[in-house]
Amino acid sequence: MNTITYFKERFEQLQADSVDTHIKAMRDEAFNEFSQKGIPTVKHEEWKYTRINDFFIKDYQFSTDLKEQHFTKEDLQHLKMPGHDNANVITFINGHYHPEFSTLRSDELEIMPLQEAAHNQFAPIVEKHLGHSADYHRDGINALNTAFIQEGVFVHVLKGRTAKHPIYMYNITDARSGNIFAQPRVLVHVDENAHVQMVETFATIGSDESFTNQVIEMAVEKDAVLELYKIQNDAPNSTVVSTTHVNQVGTSIANVITISLSGGLVRNNLNMVMDAPNSLSNMYGLYLQKGHTHVDNHTVVDNRQPNCVSNELYKGILDGNSTGVFNGKIFVRQIAQKTNAYQSNKNILLSDNASVNTKPQLEIFADDVKCSHGCTVGQLDEEALFYLKSRGISDHTAKALLLQGFALDILEKIKPSEIRLFVDELVQKQLSL
């Protein structure tokens, strides 16, 4: 069956079974949008370098239609990140939140299914903050996620509290019995003066194809601090489209660090909406690819209020047949005077078949601003390489050392020490070419 028709059928089924809420209305609207826009093709400016429509020729299914469901605790064991036993855990399997594989350790947090939050005391928050990412992605793929909002998760960080334990979020797709289509949905609300660290990762088990279309929306209130670490080290048979939408509704700090090490096709959309004066946001990214992987980072910084500062640095090392894409957009609205926005993208190409497409874009409507962007594509410094080699270090090691140094700028931004070590190891493994 055609995947699109399949979506349509499942959507009708879902709507028929659910009660009337604002979420239901939102799903209707989103599915309309999806029907109109369809899956974006390379003709869509935002998808110029990333071709995902081809994937939809394959027959994907939602997990509810798979015959066997056999994800077990043992499976999770293999996917654990260090520090797991000391963290709050949120597990998505095939796009559905599974409380039985999740744990809540910190009493500064509330974690619950999104449907539940939509009906309890958090309802106003859900209503206020859910669905804003669509304003920045007028394309079918974001709408597709919203059309199927069902078993998402809601995270609330209590006012004035610092979460003692980080939140680990696993996005697992179980592709052992068919091509799987997963759509995790998360809403995070960091209340006033709260502080939280989140680490998320993606994993595919099994050898069939998996497609994860994830949307995380985060609202950060006044004086709050949000740290998000995205670690993407997925299997080659996986495709991930991950949209992270951070809305700084109050003067706050938001740091998002994205590390993409492998996977079939990875597309990250990161939106920073700076909706309060004097906010700070930092976006760092490292993509280290080989084989046939394709990694695409699209970032948007929308300066809607004056006196905000944003820093952005993305670094890429591309080997094998990999392709890297970077598209950074900075919007400065007319009211957002005194904005300082910096953006930089640096790439190293290691092989003849690797390629990179980058587009650092500025759109500025205010005059009293300092905005700069830069981007480079190049190779390792011959002289530095010679320096190391003349001291008896092998070519291979010398290159690995220099590349590690190149990546360090990003790695050192990772604050939780277990995660830092974990990522360091992964990077080293990847680099020992």
Partner: protein, 496 residues
Amino acid sequence: MSLETDQIVSKAIESDVEFDPIENHVNSEYKYGFVTEIETESAPKGLNEDIVRFISAKKNEPEWMLERRLKAFAQWQKMNEMPQWANLVIPEIDFQDVIYYSAPKQKEKPKSLDEVDPELIKTFQKLGISLEEQKRLTGVAVDAVIDSVSIGTTFKKQLAELGIIFCSMSEAIQEHPDLVRQYLSTVVPPTDNFYAALNSAVFSDGSFCYIPKGVRCPMELSTYFRINAENTGQFERTLIVADEGSYVSYLEGCTAPRRDENQLHAAVVEIIAMDNAEVKYSTVQNWYPGDKEGKGGIYNFVTKRGICKGHHSKISWTQVETGSAITWKYPSVILQGDNSTGEFYSVAVTNNFQQADTGTKMLHIGKNTRSRVVSKGISAGRSQNSYRGLVRVGKNAKNARNFSQCDSLLLGDKCGAHTFPYIEVKNKTGVVEHEATTSKIGEDQIFYCNQRGIDTEKAVALIINGFAKEVMDHLPMEFAVEAKKLLEVSLEGSVG
């Protein structure tokens, strides 16, 4: 002519004679806003196959040229839609409401200036580019184009001695059909884009330039364009071929009379550089930008592209863009030959309601190719100024090197500056750098000048000229003076 236009005319003449740089431009109304009364012989409004045939017949073109035009027209009809991707708000243009051919009435080709319609000569005098003046003082050969038909070419003899061909395109089609046939449309095929297709179908005239092997053109070749008749689109076609080891510097400058109805301008420029050849192409563009309310102004949709076909060849674009209501222009270089070089230097100024989406494409195909892009955008008033550039390093372009810099300066808080650089690298030995900044003129800088007795307006002009200096330095002398003046005039009243 009415009394009012008379005054503007006399003022225009005066300012050129006295040549006082800034004071004469205090009146920021468009200086060259007058209409020359020349009888024109026009085609009826609208575009269809008959019009294309009419244009071709009017110009007495050979069969193959007509065929090409018709093919391009068919292509254009297929495209059917103006490109929408640019960061521009373009009002719907009714392409059937445009006159595609209008030529100044002439009985026969004049052999000397005396035979040229005295009305036309007067126009050039008003513009300060009188042919005899140019001939006597500057030593620049001028191929002046008024409303699509070339009326006078100077220094032809001197150039002919060196074997250089510099003539109007229609003449070239008659006299040098082989060259035109060989090179025309090889860099910008009609299929390239909507406006290129349109131009290929209906181009009226333009310049053709051929520099033979090993010849260094002793003077700067220059063409002045001028849109004149009401409702006439200008579809210029320029082709420059620099054969092995040759050099040429080509200037193009434009002024247009003020007009309230929008005028369409869709030119195509093609440059071909063979082994070791160098072509330097400089433009000062000052089409009528519309008035302070954004009414009127020229739509400028230009396709300019050069190809470095041979090894060690070089093409350099320098442009100063101050006019047009809408500018859509991306002078590009295809770096096909090994060790070839492409350069792009641009200053784009927008004021009031002007919109500009301009930039370049550097396509690295050959080995050891180098390119350099320096773009300076200045926005004022309620204007929108975008830089859009592409640097592509192909799979076989070993050791390609690119450096791009695009800086924007914002004057006032109602304008916008945008940057859209595309960088695509497919070879690991390529080194590409891009940097861009956006800023405004600092209060401290103005204060520094004020302290030293320089008033704010002059201080701004000074700072802007400094900001644009890197590009201005690449303009030939004659142009640099004019361009500097233009910058100041264009931004008059936008600061202070």
